[in-house]
């Protein structure tokens, strides 16, 4: 029974998670599908703003997902929108984690007054309600993907800073970091060569979590009309659906597909993350081992968790 196999590296652990865990496999396959659509889709789908028929037509053989309030093809819009929505989501997800890691690791590593100041700073941002703040900032700036990305980064980094700080604090007490300090390594080198590489799996997990947040919040802001409403994304599709009173005309096909896509991407990312957790979390790993062990001996594992300690 070994804890997470660090020699294999983060990528190895992910590959393992996807191979071993059914949930992770489903999630990864879904993500791959969306990635293909995002990269190749726009080349085949055609012009998403072209007027192809009467507005608000129900799904038919000609238009698989019907037409929207402007008489544009919903399926084409959905495919073309995938690229912008996902690209913005992942970019924000990565940026948010980078800033969070910078602030959090600095706070956790240096401790003392630096930690006090940075912690208050990130806790303040954590407690300020993000959505209203994002809306107010976005309303002042020219609308477009850049503004949406910016406000999401400003309102989203604090949670990551808190997680990273806890990680850095734990690593700071480990012997190899102490050894590096005694050896007279510079703070910068210790952070870059000793601490950050050991946080890789947490960083990747945080990027996934933050991307889920970024896609949801981005769609919300665009739904309010704070994105560039002339550009086709999942969020602006929902904005136009609401504006063209999709609900009151009963045209469900104008808002159901975009929302489902947002949910599927979020769900897939969550599945991959939890599969990864099963592989790298020693506790869950031990429990699984113990269960298999019992079942092999023809015994039924108890209802609640068996006490899993090293003796398993």
């Amino acid at each position: 029974m070994s804890a997470p196999d660090l020699t294999r590296g983060t990528l190895g652990a992910w590959a393992l998670a996807i191979r071993r865990d059914r949930k992770a496999l489903v999630g990864a396959s879904l993500l791959a599908l969306f990635a293909v659509v995002a990269v190749l889709g726009p080349f085949f789908a055609g012009d998403p703003t072209a007027l192809v028929g009467i507005p608000l037509q129900a799904p038919s053989a000609a238009h698989w997902l019907g037409t929207n309030g402007q008489g544009q093809d919903v399926l084409t819009q959905l495919i073309v929108g995938t690229r912008v929505s996902l690209a913005l989501g992942f970019t924000v997800g990565i940026l948010v984690v980078l800033i969070g890691a910078l602030v959090g690791v600095t706070a956790g590593y240096f401790g003392g007054r630096v930690d006090g100041l940075l912690s208050v700073f990130s806790n303040v941002f954590l407690v300020l309600p993000g959505m209203p703040l994002a809306i107010v900032i976005a309303a002042y700036l020219p609308s477009g993907p850049f503004t949406v990305g910016l406000v999401l980064v400003v309102t989203g980094w604090a949670w990551n800073a808190r997680v990273m700080r806890a990680q850095a604090l734990a690593l700071r007490r480990r012997d190899f970091v102490a050894a590096a300090i005694v050896a007279g390594e510079s703070d910068f080198r210790i952070l870059m060569a000793e601490i950050l590489p050991n946080m890789m799996s947490v960083l990747v997990a945080q990027v996934i979590g933050s991307t889920v947040y970024a896609i949801g919040a981005q769609v919300g802001l665009e739904f309010l009309g704070l994105g560039d409403v002339s550009r086709v994304t999942w969020g602006t599709m929902l904005y136009w659906a609401q504006n063209d009173s999709a609900l009151l005309t009963g045209s469900w096909w104008t808002f159901v597909p975009a929302g489902l896509c947002v949910a599927l991407v979020g769900f897939a990312l969550t599945l991959v993350n939890s599969g990864f957790d099963e592989i790298t979390n020693p506790r869950l790993q031990l429990e699984r081992f113990w269960r298999v062990h019992l079942i092999r001996r023809g015994q039924v594992p108890g209802r609640s968790t068996p006490v899993v300690r090293e003796h398993a």
Binding site: V124, V127, L128, F223, L238, A241, L247, F255, G259, V262
Partner: protein
Amino acid sequence: MRYLLKRLGFYLVAAWAAVTINFFLPRLMPGDPATALFARFKGKLAPEAIDALRATFGLTEGPLWSQYLTYLSHVLRGEMGVSIAYFPAPVSQVIGTALGWTLFLAGSAVVLSFAIGSLLGVAAAWWRRGWVDTWLPSALVFAGSLPYFWLAMAALYLFGFQLGWFPLGHAYADDSVPGWNLAFVVDVLRHAALPMLTIVIATLGGWLLSMRNTMISVLGSDYVNLARAKGLSPARVVLRYAARNALLPSVTSFGMALGFVLGGSLLTEIVFSYPGQGYLLVQAVRNQDYPLMQGIFLVITLAVLAANWMVDLVYLWLDARTRDSAS
């Protein structure tokens, strides 16, 4: 007591930060903020009134620090300017009428979701690998990935528009008279049911998973084993010994979730034309009503901070360790 005062100090810092952000935001706008802001009042207000309004925002000729002090003193007196969209009503009045609805909707939804989600989490941890543990978390995580407002749209379409079980929007019917009587309360609940349900469904998964995961480790701890060994009834062991302690991490994240849920419920309000802060906010965005927007941000922030402080009180009551070190 010291713990509570420390927390109170932190919330004061947070409130100050929100006010400061509010002060600097218009000044970050490209071009001259005052001109852009007050161009919208031209023809609506007399020149003297515009000057008075400038003072409210601290947009005077003085240096930045004196502008800032002017702004702070106005905010402390609750003066947040005049709304453009609801001209000539002052922002504080416009917000005041809508605040109750938002607190009612988001507040009840958060409490309901927390209670139901945590109970389900206890059930999932106890009947580990049963159906509650296998299917419900996945289903709720999927529901949680749906944007709140989208879930609201789908629910409104299905239960409001197609089936006609619930009203299509607003907080109460046009023909009912607001008052503390049974008919009005029932009407309000009927209108709130669908928006509340969508928020609860979207947030249930998080509470369930957090409670389940903590419960699993707490159930393996020695004091729970001891309670079992003493022959206490399973219900007592689970609820009084394990769940009470497993609830602590959830309570900690409750405060943070408040802000998050409130953000989501703003969008839900828009879908249901529910007359709360969210609905106001979208009106403000559409009309570029900056005073109203900033006022809403400030009021929501203060509400969240106050709620967080109350969560701290509850935490103190639940966790004996903080209580001992505090006294």
